[in-house]
């Protein structure tokens, strides 16, 4: 459960960001641009007292503290990851259950899903952003739409095998109504693979959000997200690699942690393993 541990640490970093740095991630300081990590700066507060702050990860081309931006950026990334996973699983589960259990709607629903699956998240995001304004909600919608068919396909395939199980037939034989069969017998047995899938979706979503922000079609640049920080640091990458390096490390670590959590959950939720627990 190393993955869960790393993820917990990153989550708490995001939540406790104001406590971890006195600096405002949005504060621009033209005099203090492009400093290397570890540079110290003396700041004069409004009342005249001087304090020395250290830019642990340097500053970017607008003089903003990269450390502050990275830890605040965890908020956006994790929000996107969790929201996308939750929304796409919730919608996909419902559609998948219906498509898998009621054979007559299956063909129609699945062809529609195939259509959705063909839409690339990045193009959809560009289209949505150009239709309205850029923002967190648009990014989430853009990533959720192409993820739903993946969830639907998974749920449907699991449901297709479960509906043939004798225990489902036994439930029919004792007169259990169809909605109850779905909730009592089918749903609990689809949860295990679904939770695992959800973690992979979360990892993908965090990555796509970073890509969208990097391309400038995601969350607006004043909001710190790992993608934004990297996009900002792109131009001076050869001279000041820290602008891309640190958010990159956090991004890689988070995605790795989520994937490890998914693998761990898969092993734990496997019925063959749960016998031993």
């Amino acid at each position: 459960m190393v993955g869960a541990l790393i993820l917990l640490v990153i989550c708490s970093i995001g939540l406790a960001a104001p406590l971890l740095t006195p600096l405002d991630p949005g504060a621009i300081d033209p005099a203090f641009r492009n400093k290397v990590p570890g540079t110290e700066q003396t700041v004069r507060a409004a009342d005249g007292t001087k304090t020395t702050v250290t830019h642990w990860m340097g500053t970017d081309s607008l003089g903003r503290d990269v450390y502050a931006r990275v830890i605040y950026g965890a908020r956006a990334s994790l929000t996107v990851g969790i929201a996308v996973a939750a929304i796409s699983v919730a919608i996909g589960l419902g559609i998948g259950l219906v498509a898998g259990y009621f054979r007559w709607v299956d063909a129609i629903v699945m062809r529609f899903m195939d259509g959705l699956m063909a839409i690339p998240a990045i193009l959809l995001a560009i289209a949505l952003v150009s239709l309205s304004s850029a923002g967190l909600a648009i990014v989430i919608v853009a990533i959720v739409v192409p993820e739903i068919p993946r969830v639907v396909r998974l749920v449907r395939s699991v449901v297709l095998s479960i509906r043939e199980e004798p225990y489902v037939e036994a439930a029919i034989a004792v007169g259990t109504r169809t909605p109850l069969i779905l909730v009592r017998h089918v749903l609990p047995n689809t949860v295990a693979p679904l939770i695992v899938q959800a973690t992979y979706i979360a990892a993908t979503a965090i990555l796509i959000e970073a890509i969208l922000s990097f391309l400038g079609v995601g969350i607006p640049p004043q909001t710190p997200t790992w993608g934004n920080i990297m996009a900002e640091g792109r131009t001076l990458f050869r001279v000041f690699p820290h602008n891309i390096l640190y958010p990159g490390i956090f991004l890689a670590l988070t995605v790795l942690a989520v994937n490890m959590l998914g693998d761990g959950l898969r092993d734990t939720l496997d019925p063959r393993m749960s016998k031993r627990l």
Binding site: A173, H185, N189
Partner: protein
Amino acid sequence: MSAPVLEVRGLTVTLPPDADRRLAVSDASFAVDPGEIVCLVGESGSGKSVIAHAVMGLLPKALAASAGEVLLSGENVLAASQARLRALRCTQMAMIFQEPMTALNPVMRCGDQIDEVLATHTKLSPAKRRAKVRETVRAVHMPDVERMIASYPHQLSGGQRQRIMIAMALVLEPSLLIADEPTTALDVTTQAQILSLIRELMRARGTGVLFITHDFGVVAEIADRVAVLRRGELVEVGTMRRVLTTPAHEYTKMLIDAVPSLTPRQRAEAAAPVVVRAEGLCKTYVRRSWLGRAGGDIAAATDVSFEVRKGETVGLVGESGSGKSTVARCVARLITPTRGRIVVGDADFASLSRAQLRALRRRVQIVFQDPYRSLNPRRTVGAAIVEGPMNYGMPHREAMARAHELMELVHLPPAALDRYPHQFSGGQRQRVCIARALAMSPDLLIADEAVSALDVSVQAQVLALLDEIRQRLSLAMLFITHDLRVAAQVCDRVAVMTRGRIVEYGPAAEVFAHPRDDYTKSLLAAAPGRHFAFGRAAG
């Protein structure tokens, strides 16, 4: 007497530390002579497959042979290197498995698979290898040799696939053949053919055979000597006739007594009212394509008629694919019959609407074959039992009280109600399934191969339970089975099915003693160990 082909001396195999017992096999010793068939008999988990795999050098890493030796023509297999083992397999010892479909490579032609064995172990030229393959396939009595050689495994029947496996095992004329439940997945008539084939080939080539089985009928049919295994211990070794007629060990005696006899029990003719009557039942599966019917309809059941009276058990007997399960599922209305009537009381089950059906569902209940899949793994057995009654409005408290009674009725501790299915053994799960069906107070209980997946001793217990319940509640029972022995013991009347039709229907005693239909005759003639009177205790 020549030296034994295989000699196992004090073989001990240790299980991983978290297993239910310490040793998979403890101190097992026996020998197989050339041209002799030694049957290793035991229930599931007795360690019989572990012995077979130890001999082949195929033990999984988690299991280790900690003591003893396995001598194959004098050479200790346990001490042999991987390279030596590879050389020994096929040339000196060969193995055939229970499920020939999974043991054969699905994307390789059967002939090529046999040829591969030759190419690996001999330096014969391709032309000679081809001739040898043809000769071997002919030796296992395959019709149309050329076509069989060019076929893929899925194009053959189960029996033909097993013949290919045997041909593959014997192509290099090994001195030892290990057969791990080779006929368990086959129908009785096919089983009889495979057994006689194995016998014939052994006699002709002087191969020693270690034959693993759980079925005493098969033992009586094929064995020269028998070794009985219980939880890793060899409890008895002796000649077949001696072990089957005068078993020395209590366990052997219990196993043999648990085998149902082929002679039906005498039952009083039931004059009770008819509970269920099937009239001209048909179920046809239509193959559909995008453009409507694609043709090639499959008639799973055709014109099936029978009736079940109160307190009576009617057996539907047949081989796989005979349509018996289709009929069972039609009667329970899990599938809708294409034509015909199923009269339960005064309602026609076949034509009821969904709403009407729901109100009447409780009158017909079904127990399935696979005890591992018929209970939802994520719900307690208590929840499974009370589900039905609560669907029909019984309050939870009352339903739980009834579940307590039912658990006692099926001889399980009522305290086990809040346990999950995986905490029970196969036999116990089947009892839970019976309790779940009885919770509905049905008029008719359908047992669809309900004891087929169970060990013979557990099977005897579950059969006794079913019989007890039938008498106590004077329940009507429709008993679906492929096992003639079970049918003989349980059923008052039997209907023999083949290719979706009932070919013979009458009192069990009558059908078993004087079969009229040719198919019934061949079925009875194929029953393994039919010359042997089993189950004296049960009768």
